[in-house]
Symmetry: C2
Subunit: 148 residues, 2 copies
Amino acid sequence: MNNSKTMDAQPCPVARSLDVIGDRWSLLVVRDAFDGVRRFSDFQRSLGAARNILSDRLRRLVDAGILAVQPAANGSAYQAYVLTEQGQALFPIVVALRQWGEQHLFAEGERHAELIEKRTGRPLHFMAPRAADGRVVSPDETEVRKLS
Amino acid sequence: MNNSKTMDAQPCPVARSLDVIGDRWSLLVVRDAFDGVRRFSDFQRSLGAARNILSDRLRRLVDAGILAVQPAANGSAYQAYVLTEQGQALFPIVVALRQWGEQHLFAEGERHAELIEKRTGRPLHFMAPRAADGRVVSPDETEVRKLS
């Protein structure tokens, strides 16, 4: 990615995250991985990405420790790409992207896929940033304390 | 962005969100806007982005209804870019990116900028996806219900 600053020197956690996953295809791969997609050909079918783009993004995600390559569970020759623990920890980011999209990018009454809790079949709660005491906070109630 | 599928037809809210903001520079602009950056030259200084890239991303964010252009508050000739209500609603996404970066991209003891609640000076609570009843859910307790 064409970053002009060296991210390793970036004290901002948002910038460091974006250096690793701040790209549409990477995040779509991660979304698909959460949905259980594991094989190259299945990612390709789901995303409609060019082969070289998908290869590149999978390799970057493996290099970043977000996906791990495993032999396929059924003993076939296919490799499987699975989320590592660090990759699983991207769940809040994917949920936040989903919830913003649901609220702002669909027309009233337009249907969309929904993320539900399996046990109850109910959609997840809206995920809002909260203060240490658990109260929901708005952006203007917060500030970034930079490194001095 | 080089999407091969038309996003307007995408039933997945994650894909639609990424079509609008799934790009490292766009999300860094949004991060800066939350931090109070408003002028072109200040975004440029903060991001180290090339002028044409920054212009392009600001225009896209305005077109998408995430930023609005306003005359500068002090009456000068400079335009100010401010988050709209839809842009303010990106707060959970930026917080999720921040918290993942904090937890996974810094060495033990390495310092980073922190997002705090102004009133208390304390860092925000870790933001986790929750079921409708408020319980924290892991990815494997959830599934996407696709449109039939």
